[in-house]
């Protein structure tokens, strides 16, 4: 007889967020106000350090139609490349107390467009023995019809050199697959805007990560 391994619990199964996810997570979009403070798609405050950017896009289904009831959350480092979390102890990169680094957006019910107002993150150290990770934003996507939240990343088109050395991007095949993670920069005369459409399915399917 061998000794049994100590019992490990099993993760609770995921279930779809359903069509009414807004009620719980962004009630204003469901059509009412209930909480005094609401979480939002604006990550920056007046004192936040760094280059202000807008990040926007749509999530598209396998027929190419925008998913108009999608919930998108982002998690990112600050402009110095530091996460606002105790496990991040990178040296020489201060925490910006005005920047949590997390935001939540629902897509527009008509157009499917979602957006965030944030700052461009700095590069973050990679796993031990690996190169730094290029500036990126972590995405988590939930919606009706999505059985378990989907994780992907957004990288910046104007960081070509950092992207070329990024240890995660380099796990992804060059070409269309890698391009699915890179947001183009558009200057519209105001805040610089990075645009990324996320394709759930089809010939342009976005790369998703099992993290």
């Amino acid at each position: 007889m061998v000794q049994p391994l100590p019992a490990r619990l099993h993760e609770t199964p995921s279930q779809t967020a359903g069509p009414y996810v807004h009620i719980g997570l962004i009630p204003h979009q469901a059509g009412f106000d209930i909480f005094e403070t609401n979480f939002s798609n604006v990550l920056v405050g007046p004192g936040t350090q760094g280059e202000r950017i807008r990040v926007e896009g749509r999530v598209l289904d396998g027929a190419g139609a925008p998913v108009r009831d999608v919930l998108v959350e982002i998690w990112q480092a600050n402009a110095a490349g530091r996460y606002n979390h105790p496990a991040d102890r990178q040296e020489g990169k201060p925490v910006d107390e005005t920047f949590r680094g997390w935001g939540r957006a629902g897509s527009d019910f008509e157009t499917g467009l979602w957006f965030f107002e944030t700052v461009k993150p700095g590069p973050v150290e990679g796993r031990k023995g690996h190169r730094p990770m290029a500036p990126h934003i972590n995405f988590w996507i939930a919606a009706r019809g999505i059985n378990i939240g989907l994780q992907t990343r957004l990288y910046f088109a104007d960081e070509a050199e950092a992207n070329a050395n990024d240890p995660v991007l380099n796990l992804v095949e060059r070409g269309q697959q890698r391009d699915s993670l890179i947001a183009a920069r558009e200057d519209r005369g105001g805040t610089p805007t990075y645009v990324l459409d996320i394709h759930l399915q089809g010939p342009r399917e976005t790369v998703f990560f099992d993290v």
Binding site: E11, G18, Y20, D61, N84, H85, R127, A142, G149, Q201
Partner: protein, 242 residues
């Protein structure tokens, strides 16, 4: 080094519904078909957002009172509580738990819900709380009703409460649904049946917890939540910073 630094264990996809579950028709066009790329944990995965008690209002975990206007909502009063742990069995303190649901008639307060059951003027249907120092949470609510939905011609969702949980790292992010013990609709539901492992699906069914019921006031249900665990080792320094 704290447990926060350790890498997440590979997610066991066998306890989750796969992306493509054709009996749940909306999943057909919304399911990725290519293999995901597996990532070992970096700082981007082991870190995640934190929320403070100051961000929540005193009634945020009381769905009986947090939208009450002229009186209290109609329906069965219910107390829901549970323990949020990781797969290693450690309670997860101070993590945000959000929940939303239909009213007692099965109708959501949502601009896109057109079901003929009425809106309850005193019921919003959402709340949120932070787990305590040991990972426990609770809230008061009204038991939601089942409702019809457009999937098959005669599809009815079992009574359920939607849950969103964070954990300490963004890779632990989870949305799920809690069902109620004894509901005959549970094992007819394509979302429940999409979970390939019956024992895993059963963990979404909250048992009636008479010991926690409040006499002459409300019944109680216990819904424990487990988030992903982290690698364990006796030689912590070896994995440190990996």
């Amino acid at each position: 080094m704290t447990h926060l630094d350790r890498e997440f264990l590979q997610r066991d996809r066998g306890v989750h519904p796969p992306a493509f579950t054709p009996d749940y028709k909306t999943s057909v066009l919304r399911s990725p078909r290519r293999a995901m790329i597996s990532l070992q944990s970096s700082l981007s995965e082991v870190t995640g957002p934190a929320f403070g008690h100051g961000e929540l209002g005193p009634l945020d975990n009381d769905l009986i009172l947090n939208y009450a206007r002229e009186g209290e909502p109609i329906g069965e009063r219910a107390f829901v509580h549970g323990h949020v742990r990781d797969e290693n069995g450690r309670g997860i303190p101070d993590t945000l738990v959000e929940f939303w649901q239909a009213n007692a008639g099965g109708r959501y307060r949502h601009r896109n819900d057109r079901y003929l059951a009425p809106i309850d003027p005193n019921f919003g249907g959402c709340g949120r709380t932070l787990t305590d120092a040991d990972g426990y949470y609770y809230f008061r609510t009204i038991k939601p009703g089942p409702y019809p939905w457009r999937n098959f011609l005669n599809s009815w969702r079992p009574a359920h409460i939607h849950f969103s949980v964070f954990g300490s790292g963004f890779a632990q992010r989870l949305i799920t649904q809690m069902y109620f013990e004894g509901d005959p609709l549970i094992w007819r539901d394509p979302m429940v049946l999409g979970i390939p492992d019956r024992a895993a699906a059963e963990r979404l069914i909250a048992p009636l917890d008479l010991a926690a019921a409040i006499p002459l006031d409300m019944l109680a249900y216990q819904f424990d939540i487990v988030l992903r665990g982290r690698q364990q080792t006796l030689f912590e320094n070896k994995l440190q910073g990996n």
